[in-house]
């Protein structure tokens, strides 16, 4: 059973979430006794997929085949899947997976499971675990169709890159017959060096306890010292102190970083739903009764305006000593 991994790029480079999906696809292929082949979309560094065990990459070199126009990507996937006889297609459940995987499922009739957090158990069907209820629970789902599509939750597995390089072949697909009428007019903010929240390993987040947007300097400072991404609670985004894309929680972005530092956030159940996949949670809050402490690994009961500058100083000292 061959496995096809769909690999997207950002500014020509393989996305981190795609590298993780590639590693997953290699493991699925090994379990099923088949070959893992990656289909990359306009990648300039597709050979990097070799570091997670991919031997062969089919690289599409046609800029119109992009996640902005899912029908064209679906056409490329169908062509590649036919060529290698793929029974399983793997995506990262990022903006590309969300745009493309459902379309592929409807077109091919292959069952789709998204937000996947485990390798398939094939002892009785093809069962994968996924997160449900915004991370408050998980479910095991059996894919009933012969062909299967899985879209994995970013940061659920982590990337363990080793040595190795993949053979990259150019893959052409004729998409001239597809006219979806979608035109990309402008791309904003795509070149930012900041790691996007769903992929971030370190996240520093703050809430209403900060009293006003003018007080975010120390939060941004902490993020800069650590190389972390900033986030916020819902009320803070709703009143316009911080941009909407920073809102983490049940109705915002769900994250799974290695470290989540929450400052001045009480920890409403809706907020916890979006962050409880974090490996380590640090909560700084002056209210010892804040519900967030129950979900935290480390807690500091204290005034953010005193604790955060002190913590920044300690982080700075640590970074100076440990490089």
């Amino acid at each position: 059973m061959s496995v096809l991994i769909v690999v997207d790029t950002k500014n020509g480079e393989v996305k981190k979430s795609s590298l993780e999906a590639a590693q997953y696809g290699v493991n699925v292929a090994a379990a099923l006794g088949g070959e893992a082949v990656a289909l990359s979309l306009n990648a300039s560094n597709a050979e990097v997929l070799g570091t997670v065990g991919v031997k062969k990459v089919l690289n599409v070199t046609d800029a119109s085949v992009s996640a902005s126009d899912p029908q064209k990507v679906v056409a490329a996937i169908v062509a590649a899947a036919n060529q290698i006889g793929a029974k399983v297609v793997v995506f990262a459940h990022d903006s590309t997976g969300k745009a493309v995987a459902p379309r592929l499922s409807a077109k091919s009739g292959a069952g789709l499971v998204t937000n996947v957090t485990s390798l398939p158990d094939t002892s009785n069907g093809f069962v994968v675990s996924k997160n449900v209820f915004s991370g408050k629970a998980h479910a095991q789902v059996n894919i009933l169709s012969d062909e299967k599509i899985v879209s994995i939750l970013p940061n659920a597995f982590g990337v363990k890159a080793g040595e190795g390089s993949a053979t990259v072949e150019s893959f052409s697909v004729d998409v001239s017959g597809i006219n979806s009428g979608i035109t990309v007019k402008e791309v904003k903010g795509g070149n930012s060096k900041v790691v996007p929240l769903p992929e971030a390993e370190l996240v520093v987040s703050a809430g209403r306890g900060l009293k006003g947007p003018e007080n975010w300097g120390m939060i941004e400072e902490m993020a800069e010292i650590l190389g972390a991404t900033t986030a916020c609670s819902r009320p803070v985004a709703d009143i316009g102190w911080r941009p909407h894309h920073e809102h983490v929680g049940q109705t915002g972005v769900a994250i799974r970083p290695n470290l989540y530092i929450a400052i001045g956030i009480s920890g409403a159940i809706q907020h916890l739903a979006g962050v409880n996949g974090s490996k380590v949670i640090v909560v700084i809050n002056k209210d010892p009764e804040a519900p967030f402490f129950k979900a935290a690994d480390y807690g500091v009961v204290g005034d953010a305006f005193e604790v955060v500058p002190r913590l920044n100083e300690a982080f700075r000292k640590f970074k100076a000593a440990n490089g």
């Binding site: 903006s95 459902p102 379309r103 009739g109 059996n142 035109t183 900041v194 982080f315």
Partner: protein, 246 residues
């Protein structure tokens, strides 16, 4: 403009999540059902705004049994003109998308707008499937939607950025935070909702591609370790040596 807004029912965001029947079913006891927030706050409200500004109708559609009707009435109370319920148990996204497509096929909708995912199953699947079944373009994770004549401009959210895309109607889009602001239904809306048409249609018989076998809850967290607020060097040490997260 004729707009179709698919809506799901979801447990209220404060619900305690539990399972029953040997962890094979969601425990609905004591659950307060709401319209899935992404469908309501962003997709439905934006659809209403577009119709208020430029004329037309908003139809909401739900795939589900009669227990969905209170949340369908909520959507009508917010201002949708009519509602349709496809009378079948929504076993998976494939079934939901196929049933909506079967209903919408010959209705001439200019726009199908739905939430980016449900807060219950977090699939992010129905919109893209629906677009494929209806052979329409799909714009996912849209945080902004403007319509001029027969053309729409949308902001599509990607990792760390935004793409501004233009597309001709008809098309399918999934709505993310930012597209509109939550509305509260007023008394007039609630009264009017009682008499608005809610049509129940039979299912076309789509078959599921996936089956939920079992559910579980995450392992409980061990107790929090409190660190002296005067001693942040200690917190940094713990994060480095014990948690190994920095």
């Amino acid at each position: 403009m004729k707009i179709l807004v698919p809506i799901s029912k979801a447990p209220d965001t404060t619900s305690k999540i539990a399972f029953t029947d040997g962890d094979s079913k969601f425990n609905e006891e004591g659950i307060q059902w709401i319209v899935n927030p992404y469908d309501e706050w962003y997709a439905l409200v934006r659809a209403l705004e577009l119709v208020e500004a430029g004329g037309g109708t908003v139809t909401v559609i739900n795939v589900g049994d009669a227990t969905s009707e209170p949340v369908i009435r909520k959507a009508l109370a917010l201002g949708a003109n009519e509602a349709v319920r496809v009378d079948v148990n929504p076993t998976d996204s494939y079934v939901i998308a196929k049933e909506i497509a079967a209903y919408a096929a010959d209705k001439g909708f200019d726009l199908v707008l739905l939430g980016k995912e449900t807060i219950s199953y977090n699939g992010s699947e129905v919109g893209g499937m629906l677009a494929e079944f209806m052979n329409l373009p799909f714009i996912s994770l849209a945080s902004k939607l403007e319509v001029t004549g027969g053309t729409a401009t949308l902001d599509r959210t990607t990792e760390g950025g935004t793409e501004v895309v233009e597309v001709k109607m008809p098309f399918v889009a999934s709505a993310a935070k930012g597209m509109a602001e939550q509305r509260i239904p007023n008394m007039r809306g609630i009264m009017a909702a009682r008499t608005k048409p809610l049509t129940v249609v039979a299912a076309s018989g789509a078959a599921a591609k996936t089956a939920y076998v079992k559910y579980g809850l995450p392992a409980p967290k061990s107790a929090v370790k409190l660190v002296d607020p005067e001693n942040m060097d200690e917190l940094v040490r713990l994060l480095h040596e014990e948690a190994k997260s920095i």
